[in-house]
């Protein structure tokens, strides 16, 4: 396929004055929607969908696409500044972003997040341009066994996530898995763990409720205890020299950036996965591969770069099954898909041939949106930094209110707010007892994806685990996953043989 003339034509469409204005507006709106805890790209796109009637369909999807993109950038901002994930996709960014802000490196963290988002988004869009149709075919053949193998690989990177205390990490994983199992089980058709039929548990536990509870409420309680009400956040500043130094440091993370971009994109194109698991997996892989895994979670710049490249690459990747298969890879693309139907465009395998102006205009607009989101984000960094200069006595109540709003908005259910406060208190206790929290968050995201995939695979194979080794994609991913699981075990054995004195 001759991509270049089609793409140039797309750029001409994307740079029409109206469309260009929509891109800039969409990026700015998306940035703020993403930065508000609880309001993610899903809500932004859903709320603004009816407004798109004022412009032609191509402009409409360009606008919504720009919001989606802007929100991916924006999610990182509150993760770093306030320690509350701004959107589900930015949960992994809190792991290292928050510690960096507390150490007075908020500007570096924000620049890293913006740059990483730009790189991830660009790699995603380029891959999209070059390989859309063949990748769509791959995504199509990806069934339950492949998805389970992939999830197992993600779990394998967990064990390394919690520091060295493996029993405590396992406890954290299992409690996350139990929370993830609450709600209706599609395979048996029965509700599980709903505590005698409390209606709020029917929809399961929204993982943002857990994440905001643990990272917002628990973190704030901890800060109050440690600081005894005194300001303890290091003063952050922005300057030209500091920015340049940050950019130079970013150059050393190019490996993490590439890994995050490709992994994120690939996870993004799989239907039912989306950007959140992509970002979490990238974080896990980055830590597993790192030479200094013990610095992760304490303010390692790679810990920001990995999830931020991955979530932007994944959000582009998720457009692929939406456009070519008519199947959304994430909840946001599901709404975009609904929008396309309303505008009279039928997504599906023929959309590239039936509506070339629309598809290529949209793809070109993603390039532009990526650039504008970066510029707008960087321009606002001084304003975000200013937030951190507020006294903690003012900041703490603001964080608390944002947490409550963030817990309520996704489901509009007070039940979730109470649950979030319970998780917040529980998380605070676990923090005091030195349990790692990140594995629980990962488990509640990936558990509900992995568990049905495992059961579907075994249903198909009639109970035989051979299904994971007889299919080409599944067998490769499964072998990698098993290798990763066994790696720490082998390391322990190796260490014991080599220096038995070092181990008690």
């Amino acid at each position: 396929m001759d991509v270049l003339p089609l793409l140039i034509n797309g750029f001409i469409i994307a740079f029409e004055p109206l469309n260009l204005m929509l891109i800039v507006l969409g990026c700015a709106v998306g940035l703020f929607i993403g930065a508000m805890p609880g309001l993610g790209s899903v809500n932004g796109v859903a709320i603004l969908l009816p407004m798109t009637f004022l412009v032609p369909p191509t402009g409409a999807i360009i606008f919504l696409g720009a919001i989606y993109y802007g929100a991916m950038y924006g999610g990182a901002i509150s993760s770093i500044m306030l320690g509350i994930p701004g959107a589900s996709t930015a949960v992994a960014t809190t792991f290292d972003g928050r510690p960096m802000a507390l150490q007075g490196h908020a500007d570096k963290a924000l620049i890293a997040a913006a740059t990483a988002s730009f790189v991830g988004g660009s790699v995603g869009v380029i891959l999209f341009t070059l390989f859309a149709p063949p990748l769509a075919e791959v995504a199509l053949t990806f069934g339950a066994p492949e998805i389970f193998s992939l999830m197992l690989m993600a779990f394998a990177t967990f064990v390394g996530l919690g520091g060295d205390d493996i029993p405590k990490t396992l406890f954290s994983i299992f409690i996350g898995l139990v929370f993830g199992a609450v709600g209706l089980d599609i395979i048996s058709g029965e509700p599980r763990l709903i505590f005698g039929g409390i209606p709020g548990f029917f929809h399961g536990i929204n993982f943002l409720v857990l994440a905001i509870g643990i990272y917002g409420i628990a973190e704030m309680l901890w800060t109050i205890e440690v600081s005894q009400g005194k300001v303890m956040i290091s003063q952050a500043t922005v300057s030209y020299q500091r920015t340049m130094a940050a950019l130079r440091e970013l150059l050393t993370t190019w490996k993490t950036m590439l890994m995050g971009s490709f992994l994120g994109y690939f996870v993004g194109i799989l239907p039912a996965a989306g950007a959140t698991p992509g970002a979490l997996m990238a974080y896990g892989v980055a830590k597993t591969m790192a030479k200094d895994p013990e610095t992760y979670g304490k303010g390692n710049i790679n810990g920001i770069v990995a999830p931020e490249t991955a979530n932007n690459a994944a959000s582009t990747g998720a457009m692929l099954p939406m456009l070519t298969l008519g199947i959304p890879g994430s909840p946001t693309t599901a709404i975009l898909l609904g929008g396309m139907v309303i505008w009279g465009l039928e997504p599906g395998p023929r959309v590239f041939t039936d509506h070339p102006d629309f598809v290529w205009g949209f793809i070109a607009s993603l390039y532009a949106a990526n650039l504008f989101a970066l510029l707008i984000n960087v321009a606002f960094i001084p304003a975000f930094i200013w937030v951190l200069r507020l006294p903690f006595t003012i900041l703490a109540p603001i964080i608390f209110i944002l947490c409550i709003v963030g817990g309520f908005v996704p489901t509009m259910d007070m039940h979730d707010v109470w649950l979030m406060l319970v998780f917040g208190t529980g998380g605070y206790m676990m923090r005091k007892l030195d349990y790692p929290m990140a594995p629980a968050v990962l488990a509640i995201v990936l558990g509900p994806l992995a568990e049905p995939a495992l059961r579907q695979s075994l249903l198909i194979s009639g109970g035989s685990f051979g299904i994971f080794f007889t299919r080409p994609f599944a067998s490769v991913i499964m072998s990698l996953a098993l290798f990763l699981i066994l790696l720490p075990v082998m390391k322990i054995i190796y260490d014991r043989i080599k220096k038995p004195a070092a181990v008690k």
Binding site: V42, A46, L49, P50, F53, L140, T141, F142, G143, A144, G183, L184, I186, I187, S188, G189, E190, P191, I194, G197, P199, F201, F202, H203, G204, P271, A272, P321, L325, G326, I327, P328, P331, T333, A334, I335, L337, G338, G339, V341, I342, E346, P347, G348, P349, R350, M412, P452, Q456, L459, I460, G462
Partner: protein, 326 residues
């Protein structure tokens, strides 16, 4: 008061031009006083959710209502969460729900919820969705006979993908297994779009998708429609005979109906009935029905209530035959 009167007149004119259903001469014409909560019994991005957002857009585009309609997704427990929420609605005059067949089956399967669908307010049946039997094109199967032969030979290795235990897809799979003496294995997935993809990616041997879910793959030549669970052949899939033609008397539809909360005032019910009549008759909805191969006339008020009672009895019979309820 004057403004009120003008609105009343325009409502009257609009209804006079369309199908007059609501009592226009009632002195106290009701209008929503705040945004209307439009509960969806399914998750974001599913068929029902898309339809609700489409309706929301028709209302906005044609300026049919003075207050916005806000979709709220309550997918939990096969609609149990939505049913309980609407049953206990604090403001029944501003609470609507978009329903599927789980409106009947969930209260039957979970009697503990204490839901009696007769207490809900009938607003409008927007359509009935249809079901077809699909296989992938690469399988080479072109008729139901060939399908039966292949599925019989494969025994329980034949994978039928569907949307959850005891769902519409499960009911249809059970029917096929019984009617043709098959032993297909039913593998549940989340959502009809995912099911359609599993067939196109050849991770399943057959599905019973709605046309809207399979249309893209069908047009791309990846999947084939073998038979329809309808009374007559569908205009979009003329090549697929109905199971009735093939000698099996089995038809199955999925309602797409707007339901009002129990205890909704008469004025509010009349308002919504009039509003959804207009939505149904809009060019956008009529085009949507044609494109998605949706069937059925608009039903409201008493006829809709008797339709519910009749459908509930049918669903009960089917579930009893499956052995999942007594």
């Amino acid at each position: 008061m004057r403004k009120f009167g003008t609105k009343l007149t325009s409502l009257g004119i609009a209804l006079g031009l369309g199908f007059a259903v609501a009592p226009v001469d009632s002195a106290e014409a009701w209008e929503p006083k705040k945004p209307v909560e439009f509960v969806v019994m399914a998750g974001k991005g599913g068929g029902a959710d898309k339809a609700v957002r489409f309706i929301q857009n028709i209302i906005v585009k044609n300026k049919l209502a003075s207050k916005p309609f806000t979709p709220v997704n309550k997918p939990g427990g096969s609609g149990a969460e939505a049913l309980v929420h609407v049953k206990n609605a604090s403001d029944p005059d501003h609470t609507l729900m978009f329903t599927l067949n789980s409106f009947y089956t969930t209260p039957l399967l979970q009697p503990g919820l204490g839901i009696d669908i007769k207490t809900f307010t009938p607003v409008g049946r927007m359509a009935e969705d249809t079901f077809l039997l699909w296989v992938s094109k690469k399988s080479g199967i072109k008729t139901v006979d060939q399908f039966v032969k292949a599925a019989k030979a494969a025994g329980n290795k034949w994978i039928m993908a569907g949307t959850g235990k005891n769902s519409e897809d499960n009911i249809l799979t059970d029917f096929l297994n019984k009617a043709y003496g098959l032993n297909m294995k039913y593998v549940p997935y989340k959502g009809g779009g995912r099911v359609a993809k599993e067939l196109a990616g050849e991770n399943a041997n057959s599905t019973v998708n709605n046309p809207s879910e399979q249309l893209g793959f069908y047009q791309a030549g990846k999947t084939v429609a073998l038979g329809a669970f309808t009374h007559e052949r569908l205009p979009l899939f003329k090549e697929a005979p109905t199971f009735k033609e093939l000698g099996k008397d089995f038809t199955y539809y999925m309602q797409r109906t707007v339901v009002g909360a129990p205890g909704m005032s008469e004025g509010a019910a009349a308002y919504y009935q009039g509003l959804f009549t207009k939505v149904f008759n809009s060019k956008e909805w009529q085009d949507y029905m044609k494109k998605k191969s949706l069937q059925g006339k608009f039903l409201t008020g008493k006829p809709l209530m008797s339709y519910w009672i009749e459908q509930k009895a049918i669903q009960k019979g089917i579930l009893q035959k499956m052995g999942v309820i007594k």
